[in-house]
């Protein structure tokens, strides 16, 4: 009987069949196949991947034709693993075992009728996918799939990462600094009892001594009845202030700003009393205002306490315009239009002349800031003084001339106000500072008042303060220069 070998599994099939009865592969010779019927499956080049169709048609079990023809290992050595060993009985039942059994030459192949062959399940004879070089995923969501691209290219050799030491390399000095910082931070969080201060310490005695010395020095003139300190000579700026007031016309309109705090009213009242006294002597109408909320009350108190003898009446000889809010912006607004910035008095009555109302006498004929005959600012803060100079003083110059600006300043503000007086041209035309300036002004006018009353006590207090500063400075210098103190790095004397 003529046979035709399957080109796929190499097994003999009866002539005339078109499909291999073993592997169901086509038995027709493909173009270029061996005409003798002993066709071999196309072999791929070593190492090259075989085509998909070829691998699908190649039977999984059973040796390839070339494998069947392969010679046994030379030298009669030990057979390779899996070769020449008798398979156990149970293993022969497996397809691989059957394949091995098919190698047995004595077994005759069963001839199946065509109707039975056609009933064979395809899966039973379908070729298993060949074992290829494709990797099999064994884990993860792709487990069981073949040929999946590897997550890491296998061409890249994996190597152990370099090991770095976790130990910080620091010097001994750095370690000491770190320990010091750590101790400081830890001490911050620790609860420590507050050391109980002694009821009486050298510091207390020093404080009482200084206070007692100052009080005694101040009270000494009053206790002894001595009036030995002559009033100070008037400096140029005080003389200028006096000249400006003395040259005021009768019924002059003067703007008087009370820009100081209650804490310094003692000094400011003494410094300003002689100046305001001179203004009232000249019969000037006063318009009062303040950029401090407490200023309007201080103004009323000042007039009632220090100038009661003049008998100035509110809304007649003076008008208290009250509080001007806004700081420098408010001052700029007031310099631009006084009527809009402060339309009413402190009591709430209309202050400025308007159609249908005459306005207060102190503001008659005043349309702008430059219409005042004099501007006097009582100020204890250099910033407030600067605000008046910067915002208001430039608007005091008109084509008709300039309204002079006179400042009565606290002694603590004098160093920062004096440059405005000494500049050329002067931005402040007259300056009276502190009790000393007030006393000098009182000497010029020949009248008494607060600065004259305070002058003796003020002189004695200043002398005592200067003496204590001098003694304290000398003592500090001696303590510092002592060899023992110096060697200890300038520690504070206890």
């Amino acid at each position: 009987m003529a046979e035709i070998r399957c080109p796929h599994c190499g097994r003999p099939n009866p002539a005339g069949r078109e499909i291999c009865r073993f592997c169901l592969g086509e038995l027709r010779p493909s173009p270029g196949a061996n005409p003798e019927g002993t066709s071999h499956p196309p072999t791929a080049a070593p190492g090259a991947a075989q085509g998909e169709g070829a691998s699908r048609l190649r039977p999984a079990e059973g040796p390839r034709p070339e494998e069947e023809a392969a010679p046994p290992p030379e030298g009669g050595g030990e057979p390779q693993e899996g070769q020449g060993r008798a398979l156990p009985e149970w293993l022969q039942e497996t397809p691989a075992g059957r394949g091995a059994a098919e190698k047995e030459p004595d077994l005759a192949r069963a001839e199946l009728p065509e109707w039975l062959e056609s009933m064979r399940p395809v899966e039973a004879v379908a070729p298993q996918p060949p074992e290829t070089a494709e990797r099999l995923e064994i884990a993860g969501p792709l487990a069981g799939l073949r040929g999946a691209l590897p997550a890491e290219p296998e061409a890249i050799p994996l190597q152990k990462p370099p090991a770095y030491s976790g130990k910080l390399r620091v010097t001994a000095a750095q370690r000491a600094h770190a320990d010091l910082l750590k101790s400081v931070v830890e001490e911050e969080g620790a609860i420590r009892p507050v050391p109980r201060k002694p009821a009486f310490s050298p510091r207390h005695f020093w404080r009482w001594g200084v206070g007692l010395a100052l009080v005694l020095a101040i009270l000494w003139p009053a206790l002894t009845g001595s009036q030995g300190s002559p009033l100070p000579a008037f400096p140029e700026e005080v003389a200028e202030a006096n000249r400006l007031i003395a040259e005021l016309p009768a019924g002059a309109r003067v703007l008087l700003a009370f820009d100081y705090e209650p804490g310094l009213s003692g000094e400011m009242d003494a410094a300003a009393s002689a100046v305001v006294d001179h203004l009232m002597l000249r019969g000037a109408y006063l318009a009062l205002l303040s950029t401090s909320p407490t200023g309007p009350i201080l103004a009323e108190r000042f007039l009632s306490n220090t100038q009661a003898s003049h008998g100035y009446l509110p809304d007649l000889q003076y008008a208290n315009l009250g509080y001007l809010p806004g700081g420098p912006s408010g001052l700029a607004s007031f310099a631009e239009s006084p009527q809009r910035a402060l339309p009413q008095t402190l009591a709430g009555s209309p202050a400025w002349p308007a159609p249908g109302q005459p306005g207060l006498p102190a503001l008659q004929g005043v349309g702008g800031i430059a219409d005042f005959d004099l501007l006097v600012v009582l100020v204890d803060d250099p910033l407030a003084a600067r605000a008046w100079i910067e915002q208001v003083q430039p608007r005091l110059q008109t084509a008709q001339g300039q309204t002079p600006l006179l400042m009565v300043a606290s002694a603590q503000a004098e160093p920062l106000v004096r440059p405005f007086y000494q500049s050329s041209p002067r931005q402040v035309q007259g300056l009276v500072t502190g009790v000393r300036g007030g006393a000098a002004y009182a000497r010029l006018t020949g009248r008494g008042g607060l600065p004259v009353e305070y002058w003796d006590a003020y002189s004695a207090g200043l002398l005592a303060s200067a003496g204590m500063l001098l003694v304290g400075g000398l003592a500090s210098a001696v303590f510092t220069l002592l060899p023992g103190r110096r060697s200890r790095g300038g520690e504070e004397p206890s």
Binding site: G211, L264, S265, S329, Q344, G348, Q412, Q427, G461, S465
Partner: protein, 231 residues
């Protein structure tokens, strides 16, 4: 002395002594007096703001009969209400508009005033201080005037040099100021020390005047108490 004067004077006398008690150290009497002063000052400031600002400039225009005043008063009213929104973090954004307005106007006034009222006039005065014609106009000794001008210029320059903090890289040394600026800065330190000393002396002088005023008040009050009334 009336009853009101007696009560007011006695209260002021007691409060003065409570403040003076600080010479013995911090104590409750001193703290009570300080708290009282702060509270009274804050209350007075609040009343003054209401009476001098809110009532005449906001409430009165709103109650006025003229429509123009109503419209003009709406601007500060709206800005004021928006400023109140700053009280709550959730509505604080609404308060940015009035704050921006306040800051912008304040900065413009302050900067414009500082440049035009202080910086330029003082620079001009420093330059003109070398003009001896001014000394002759003021009837001053030109020699002293010139020396004074030189001291002012030296003080200005050296003090500015002291506040120059620019440093340069130097090889093998930490960055530092040029040597000549360092020397000028040392001289500027002297001027700064003198300036601070003068400010300190002024502060002592002002505090001394306040102490004299208080002691004078205590003495006057005791004198009035001990003096028999004139019938």
């Amino acid at each position: 002395m009336s009853l009101a004067d007696l009560v007011g004077g006695g209260l002021a006398f007691a409060l003065t002594l409570m403040v003076f008690s600080y010479v013995l150290g911090d104590n409750p009497l001193f703290r009570v007096a300080i708290h009282l002063f702060i509270g009274v000052a804050a209350g007075l400031a609040g009343i003054m703001t209401v009476n001098s600002v809110l009532l005449p400039r906001l409430v009165a225009p709103l109650l006025a009969s003229r429509r123009e005043e109503h419209l003009l008063a709406l601007v500060p009213l709206v800005l004021g209400v928006l400023l109140l929104a700053k009280l709550s973090p959730s509505t604080a954004g609404w308060g940015n508009l009035p704050v921006a307005y306040l800051v912008g106007v304040g900065a413009a006034a302050a900067i414009g005033g500082a440049v035009g009222g202080t910086l330029l006039p003082q620079v001009s005065a420093s330059i003109d201080s070398f003009d001896l014609r001014v000394a002759l106009q003021r009837d001053e000794n030109p020699g002293f005037y010139l020396v004074n001008a030189i001291i002012v210029a030296a003080g200005t320059l050296t003090t500015l040099a002291y506040f120059h903090f620019g440093a340069r890289q130097r090889p093998d040394q930490p960055p530092g100021r040029p040597a000549w600026i360092e020397e000028l800065g040392r001289i500027g330190q002297v001027f700064l020390a003198v300036a601070f000393g003068v400010l300190f002396a002024g502060t002592i002088s002002a505090a001394l005047a306040a102490l004299i005023e208080r002691l004078s008040f205590l003495a006057d009050f005791l004198r009035q108490l001990t003096t028999p009334p004139v019938l």
